[in-house]
């Protein structure tokens, strides 16, 4: 099967993730969407790696996972603290600062 299709899939996942970020209110979900985007990137990396026939892509994928993990740590910390103060994880509630 032509690996290009995996690229299409990656693009699709990425778009889904992005859309999720734009339309979902819950911070956690938004964050998961971002993770989805990152994973879409991973898929793309791996696919390209396969197409190019070198390992760089696969290695980058690992790096990405690590980074994603770190992001989770930081992100969840922030979101949770926000949740505990406001008792809601809605992104839209956090709009004190505007204009």
């Amino acid at each position: 099967m032509n690996p290009v299709n995996y690229l299409y899939l990656a693009a699709l996942l990425f778009t889904i993730g992005a859309t999720g970020v734009l339309i979902r209110r819950n911070a956690i979900v938004v964050f998961m969407c971002i993770e989805l985007m990152l994973n879409a990137c991973n898929l793309a990396f791996v696919t390209f790696s396969r197409m190019h026939g070198n390992l760089d892509g696969q290695i980058i994928a690992f790096f990405t996972m690590v980074v994603a993990a770190a992001e989770v740590v930081v992100g969840l910390a922030i979101i949770v603290s926000l949740f505990r103060t406001r008792h809601s994880a809605s992104v839209d509630d956090a709009s004190l600062m505007k204009l």
Partner: protein, 648 residues
């Protein structure tokens, strides 16, 4: 000898400086300093005159170069004086009459606490006037020209606390400025045409350039003359100028300054000779003013304003003569000199009368004063006879010559001008007789006239300060005032005859002004006869109206013409409506424009940015997701644009 010329000016200038800077400590002696210095100037003038007479005719022009004033590129102006027969004549007139009037003022201004300043201004005027007539180029003349304007401004407005006086002063200066504009444009034209504006080169090369340019220059000079000499259409200031103290009216607004225009035209004769159109304009202005002034003079009840009108019309005579070209120049100047004498005399007389009448100026509140102030009566009377041209008095000679010259112009012009001049003579006789009768004859109308008439608000302040509106006690003025009057009276009787003995004056001036005998369609004697007839008619009518029947203490309504004439033939009203009102509207609207439009555009732009900012910041609505949207959109745009760039 020519080094003395500068002293002529220096003396009064020094006086002005000392008196104005000196401060109160000079109040005691100030007036004497001023008088002394003006006499000094007069003596120097006499010395120079003697020297000039000593010389042969062609060497009678002396110049004194002091320093280079302005020098930029080819633009070169020197401070150089030029004394020739013409300027000599003026110097003597100015310093002579000036000195007399200084003397007179010592008495007249006795009660004014600002007398020192008054004399300072008088000296300033003398200096400026002398500079005017002694300048060797038009730019320097311009300095004197505006200098006398300043002096007259200061002196008309001398009683500044009177709004009327302040207004009159301002008006005089402004109207003069309009004239000055003409002079400066004329100078620019000269510079552009001849590359210089010194008398010598300009006048000697006048012929070398085109008609058009010369006409332009001539008309501009005429405009200047109109401003300074109160000729139509710029005459309106002279009447109001009577707000000034009477000696000022005598010196500046009768004898000397107002005649500067005539000087200018005669001085620039070469230009006018080469520009007949300009000359015609001059004669027309002269003729019109001649009648205008005369008519106004007939209607005024304020003695000074009546005399002012007469001044206007007499200067009209001179301008008319000057416009006639070589045939008229000399007579213009001659009439100027004689007029200087008798009109100054008349004003001083009027001043003396007012002095004795608590500064009342309304002739309808005079009457029968000849018993109370005999000297004034006699001197005034002599002046009167002189101005109406009573045979063998000075006016008779000078005016006759002008009328003859007018006829001698030839053609229909000649007839018209001559006719006008004759008519003028008649009217002159009328209004002067009227003044004479109302003032010195008839019943004593001042007996039952407690308050000054509201018609004449311009009551001199001395009266207010003294607070007397009770019945006046007419009395003769002190010696210091009467002596000048007597001297001037003598002058106005004799000088005409003296000048004409063997055409002295003619030969004296001819080298400067040039002279040509016109061929008059009518003989000299006819003219003289006609003049006398007119004279008699004028006097007769006046006597019929004011001599036989009593004069009403309150002015009757009078005919349309009279009412118009009382208002200077509506000329002021015209100015007010057209210029003043129009100007006010213009400035007010401009202020509005400046605020709303010019400023508004800028403020508007600022406000516009503010509004835009206010609208744009709404995008920043605080919702993270909308920020994400903008980022997403931005990214999309970025990608699209990049692809597009490649596509095209």
């Amino acid at each position: 000898m020519e080094n003395l010329i500068a002293l002529l000016i220096a003396a009064p200038l020094l006086g002005a400086a000392v008196l104005l800077v000196g401060g109160r400590r000079l109040d005691r002696v100030g007036h004497w300093i001023g008088t002394l210095l003006s006499f000094v100037s007069f003596v120097i003038g006499l010395a120079l005159f003697a020297d000039l007479l000593g010389k042969s005719t062609e060497h009678r022009t002396m110049t004194q170069h002091l320093w280079t004033w302005i020098s930029v590129g080819s633009f070169h102006a020197d401070v150089t004086f030029r004394l020739d027969q013409l300027s000599m004549t003026f110097v003597l007139l100015i310093t002579g009459v000036g000195s007399l009037i200084h003397l007179y003022s010592v008495g007249y201004m006795e009660h004014d606490e600002r007398r020192r300043r008054f004399f300072g201004y008088l000296n300033l005027f003398l200096a400026a006037m002398l500079l005017l007539v002694l300048a060797d180029n038009y730019l320097l003349l311009y300095v004197g020209w505006e200098g006398v304007g300043l002096a007259s401004y200061l002196l008309i407005g001398f009683w500044q606390h009177k709004p009327s006086a302040a207004t009159a002063a301002k008006k005089a200066f402004l109207v003069n400025r309009v004239g000055d504009m003409g002079l400066s444009i004329a100078i620019m034209l000269m510079f552009a045409t001849f590359g210089t504006f010194a008398f010598g080169p300009v006048l000697s090369h006048a012929g070398d350039t085109s008609q058009g340019k010369l006409t332009a220059i001539g008309l501009m000079l005429l405009l200047a003359a109109c401003g300074k000499s109160a000729q139509v259409p710029l005459q309106s200031w002279l009447g109001d100028a009577m707000e000034g103290p009477t000696p000022v009216s005598a010196l500046i607004h009768a004898a000397t300054m107002v005649t500067a225009g005539v000087y200018l035209i005669v001085r620039s004769g070469a230009i006018f000779n080469a520009a007949p159109d300009a000359q015609l304009a001059v004669t027309v202005v002269g003729a019109v003013t001649l009648l205008f002034g005369a008519i106004v003079g007939c209607a005024k009840d304020d003695i000074k304003k009546a005399l002012a009108g007469s001044t206007m019309s007499q200067i009209g005579y001179m301008v008319l003569a000057a416009g006639l070209g070589p045939i008229g120049y000399v007579f213009a100047i001659m009439h100027l000199v004689t007029h200087g004498f008798f009109k100054a005399g008349l004003f001083l007389g009027a001043g003396s009368v007012m002095h004795g009448m608590n500064d009342e100026v309304d002739m309808r509140r005079y009457g029968g004063l000849r018993k109370y102030m005999p000297i004034t009566f006699i001197t005034f009377g002599l002046g009167y006879l002189a101005i109406i041209g009573f045979p063998f008095l000075s006016g008779f000679y000078s005016k006759d010559k002008i009328i003859e010259a007018a006829f001698a112009k030839g053609g229909t012009e000649g007839w018209i001008l001559g006719g006008v001049a004759l008519l003028g003579a008649a009217i002159t006789a009328f209004y002067m007789t009227r003044v004479m009768l109302m003032t010195f004859f008839g019943e004593e109308r001042w007996r039952n006239a407690p308050t000054p008439s509201p018609a004449e608000p311009s009551v001199e302040p001395a009266a207010e300060t003294r607070g007397e509106h009770t019945e006046p006690h007419p009395h003769e003025s002190p010696k210091v005032m009467t002596i000048p009057m007597i001297v001037l009276a003598v002058g106005s009787v004799a000088c005409g005859f003296f000048f004409n003995l063997g055409d002295r004056f003619l030969h004296w001036l001819e080298p400067v002004t040039g002279h040509s005998e016109g061929h008059s369609p009518v003989s000299t004697w006819t003219v003289t006869g006609a003049t006398l007839v007119c004279l008699v008619i004028g006097v007769g009518i006046a006597w019929a109206q004011y001599g036989r029947k009593p004069v009403p203490a309150v002015a009757p309504r009078g005919s349309l013409l009279t009412r118009a004439a009382r208002r200077d033939l509506l000329q002021d009203d015209f100015n007010h409506v057209v210029l003043v009102r129009g100007g006010e509207h213009l400035t007010r609207s401009l202020v509005y424009v400046d605020h709303t439009l010019v400023d508004g555009v800028v403020n508007g732009t600022a406000a516009g940015f503010g509004g835009l900012s206010g609208r744009l910041r709404r995008i920043q609505n605080g919702f993270a997701r909308s920020y994400a949207v903008s980022m997403f959109g931005g990214a999309a745009l970025l990608v699209a644009a990049t692809l597009l760039m490649r596509a095209v």
